[in-house]
C-alpha cells in the first residue's frame, strides 16, 4: 500500500486506538467480568456463571436502587424536559426579549459549576439548623415542615433528586432555546393573524417543531437518570441506611468498598441494559409519532 492509500487510516488511527482501549474494550470486558468472582488486587478470577446476577436479584438494596433510579427518571423528565421546554419558550417569547439574555445566562450558570461544588453547597441548603430551606419554611410559618432533609429516609432521595434538577434544567433549557431559534418566524406570524393565543402557539407550533430536540433531551435525561452517581454519592453516600441508594452508588460500593468486582460488573451490565432499553423504547415511540 502506498502512503497515499494508508493516509486516511493513519489519520484516524489515534482516535480508534484510544477509544478501542479505553471505551470499547472495557465495555466488552465488563460483560465477561460479570460472570466471575474476583477482587481488585488479585489476578485470580473464579467463574461463577450467573451467580452474581442471581445474588443481585435477591439483594433488596438492588430494588431500592432501581426504585430510586425510576424516581430519578420520572422527576427528571417532568422538571428538565417539560420545565426546560417551558422556560425556553418563555425566554424566546417576544414579550420577554428585553431581559431574556440576562435570565438565560443565570439559568445556565448551575450547569457550568462542578457538581461537587453544587452538592457541597446543597448540603448547607439542607442543613437542619442554618439551611436556606428550613429557614425559608420557618419564615413562611411552616415550622412543622422543617426537617433534616438528607438525614431522613423518606426525604433523602427526593432532596438529592432536587439538586440534580436545580443543576440540569438550565442545560436542557439551552438545548430547547437553540431548537426554538431555528423555527421559521412565519409560522408564529401566521398564527398571530388567526388570533391564536400563546398557549395554542406553544402546543401547536413550538412543541411539534422541536420534536427532534424533545427526543434528544428525553434521551439525555433518561440516560442521566439511570447512570447518576455524583449527587447521591456526595450528598448522602446512599444513606441513611440504603434509603437513597442508586445503581451507580451500589456499583461503586460493591467494587471499591466491598471489593466484589464481579458483582459490581453485574450491576454495570444491568445499568447498560436499562439505558439501552430506555433508548430503544424512546426511538420506537418517536418513530411511531413521526408516521402520523
Amino acid at each position: 500500500m502506498t502512503l497515499r492509500k494508508m493516509a486516511p487510516y493513519l489519520y484516524i488511527a489515534p482516535c480508534i486506538l484510544l477509544m478501542g482501549l479505553f471505551v470499547y474494550y472495557p465495555i466488552v470486558e465488563n460483560f465477561r467480568f460479570a460472570f466471575y468472582e474476583f477482587s481488585a488486587f488479585s489476578p485470580d478470577k473464579v467463574f461463577v456463571g450467573f451467580e452474581n446476577f442471581l445474588a443481585l436479584f435477591q439483594d433488596e438494596v438492588f430494588y431500592i436502587a432501581i426504585k430510586n433510579n425510576i424516581w430519578y427518571a420520572v422527576i427528571s423528565i417532568i422538571c428538565q424536559v417539560f420545565g426546560g421546554l417551558v422556560l425556553a419558550a418563555i425566554l424566546e417569547d417576544p414579550l420577554t426579549r428585553l431581559f431574556s439574555g440576562f435570565f438565560r445566562t443565570t439559568f445556565f450558570l448551575p450547569v457550568i459549576i462542578s457538581i461537587t461544588v453544587i452538592a457541597l453547597l446543597f448540603s448547607f441548603v439542607y442543613n437542619p439548623d442554618i439551611g436556606i430551606l428550613n429557614s425559608f419554611l420557618r419564615l413562611l410559618g411552616l415550622e412543622e415542615w422543617t426537617r433534616a432533609w438528607l438525614g431522613e429516609s423518606e426525604t433523602a432521595i427526593f432532596a438529592v433528586i432536587a439538586v440534580s434538577q436545580w443543576q440540569s434544567i438550565g442545560y436542557i433549557m439551552m438545548l430547547f432555546i437553540v431548537a426554538i431559534q431555528s423555527i421559521p418566524q412565519e409560522l408564529y406570524e401566521a398564527a398571530d393573524i388567526d388570533g391564536a393565543n400563546k398557549f395554542y402557539k406553544f402546543l401547536h407550533i413550538t412543541v411539534p417543531q422541536v420534536k427532534e430536540m424533545l427526543f434528544v433531551a428525553t434521551l439525555i435525561t433518561l440516560t442521566g437518570a439511570f447512570t447518576v452517581f455524583n449527587e447521591p454519592y456526595i450528598l448522602t453516600s446512599g444513606g441513611p441506611g440504603n434509603a437513597s441508594e442508586v445503581l451507580g452508588t451500589l456499583l461503586y460500593k460493591s467494587a471499591f468498598f466491598r471489593d466484589e468486582m464481579g458483582y459490581a460488573s453485574a450491576i454495570a451490565t444491568i445499568i447498560l441494559i436499562l439505558s439501552l432499553v430506555a433508548a430503544m423504547i424512546q426511538m420506537k415511540l418517536f418513530k411511531t409519532g413521526k408516521e402520523d
Binding site: 457541597l120 448547607f124 460488573s265
Partner: protein, 295 residues
C-alpha cells in the same frame, strides 16, 4: 399588511382593539416575568448565599446566615488556597489543558481522515468514532480500573487524561467533522496540484481555517474535564495529585466545621469555569447545539 388597509374611519374600533391588545400584552408580560423571576430566585439565592457566607466566620454563619458579613473575611480565601485548593487547582489545570489539547488535536486528525478521503471501511470507522457517545463511563468502571492498573498508570495524571480523551473524542469528532464537510474540495485540490502533502493541507489549510470550531471543541472539553468527578475519585489515590472535584471531598473532611473556609474553597473552584463561560458563551452554546455537552 392588514393594518395598512385600515382607513381612519375605523379608528374607534381600531383603537379599542389596540387597547385590549395592549392590556393582554401587559397581562402576558406580567405572568411570564413572574415565572422568570421566581425561577431566578430559586437559582440565584443559593449562589448568593454561598458568596456572602464565604466571607464569614463559622460563628457568624450560624448566628446570621442571611445577612451580609459584618467584616468581609478575605482571609477565608487565603486559608482555603493554602489548605490544599492551590494544589488541586494546579492538578486540574494540568489535566484540563492536556486533555483539551490532545482531544481536539486527535479529533481533528480523525475528522480529517473521515471527511477528505475515500477508503474501504470508512462507514465502520465513522460508526466506531461516534458510537462511543452513547456509552456512559459508569458501565465500564471496573474493567477500566483494572486496565489502568495493568498499564501501570494508576495514581498518575495519565489515569485521568487518557480516559477523558477517549470519552471526549466522539463528540469532538462529530463537531469538527461537521465543519470539515463544509470546506469545498477545490481548495485542497489546488493545493495538491502545487505539490502539497495531505499533512500539509491539514496543518496549513484545515486547522487555520477552522479555529473557531477547534476552540469550541476546547471549551466543551475543558468544561467536562474541569468538573469530572467519578474517574477523579477512583483513579487517583494520592491527595497531591487530586483534581478539584475529588480534592474538595478531602478538603471538606480536613476542614470539619470551618464552613466559611469551605465555602471560600467552593468559590475558588467554581470561579474559573464561570468566568470562562461568561466571556465565551457563544462557543459554549455552539458546542451545545452540535450535540450533548454533558456526555
Amino acid at each position: 399588511m392588514e393594518a395598512e388597509k385600515v382607513t381612519p374611519t375605523d379608528s374607534p374600533i381600531q383603537s379599542f382593539r389596540v387597547r385590549s391588545f395592549k392590556k393582554k400584552k401587559i397581562a402576558g408580560s406580567v405572568s411570564l416575568y413572574t415565572i422568570l423571576i421566581f425561577y431566578f430566585i430559586v437559582i440565584s439565592y443559593p449562589l448568593f448565599w454561598m458568596v456572602i457566607n464565604s466571607f464569614k466566620t463559622t460563628e457568624e454563619i450560624f448566628s446570621n446566615s442571611w445577612a451580609l458579613p459584618t467584616t468581609w473575611l478575605v482571609s477565608n480565601y487565603v486559608h482555603a488556597w493554602n489548605t490544599g485548593i492551590s494544589e488541586y487547582f494546579l492538578n486540574s489545570t494540568i489535566v484540563t489543558l492536556s486533555t483539551c489539547l490532545l482531544t481536539v488535536f486527535l479529533s481533528a486528525l480523525g475528522a480529517y481522515g473521515l471527511t477528505r478521503f475515500q477508503f474501504a471501511g470508512k462507514k465502520l470507522l465513522l460508526i466506531l468514532c461516534m458510537g462511543g457517545m452513547m456509552l456512559s463511563p459508569q458501565v465500564s468502571l471496573v474493567p477500566l480500573y483494572k486496565l489502568i492498573q495493568a498499564l501501570g498508570i494508576h495514581d498518575t495524571y495519565l489515569a485521568l487524561i487518557l480516559p477523558y480523551v477517549a470519552y471526549r473524542i466522539p463528540i469532538t469528532v462529530l463537531l469538527i467533522r461537521a465543519a470539515f464537510l463544509e470546506i469545498p474540495k477545490e481548495l485542497e485540490e489546488s493545493a495538491f496540484l502545487d505539490g502539497c502533502s495531505t499533512w500539509k493541507v491539514f496543518t496549513k489549510i484545515f486547522l487555520p481555517m477552522n479555529l473557531p470550531i477547534l476552540f469550541t471543541g476546547v471549551i466543551i472539553t475543558a468544561y467536562f474535564t474541569w468538573n469530572e468527578f467519578m474517574f477523579a475519585l477512583i483513579f487517583i489515590d494520592s491527595d497531591s495529585l487530586k483534581t478539584i472535584p475529588a480534592g474538595l471531598m478531602q478538603f471538606r473532611d480536613a476542614l470539619q466545621t470551618n464552613w466559611g473556609v469551605l465555602l471560600a474553597g467552593l468559590m475558588i473552584s467554581a470561579i474559573p469555569i464561570i468566568t470562562l463561560f461568561l466571556f465565551l458563551q457563544k462557543y459554549f452554546v455552539r458546542g451545545l447545539a452540535s450535540g450533548s455537552l454533558k456526555g
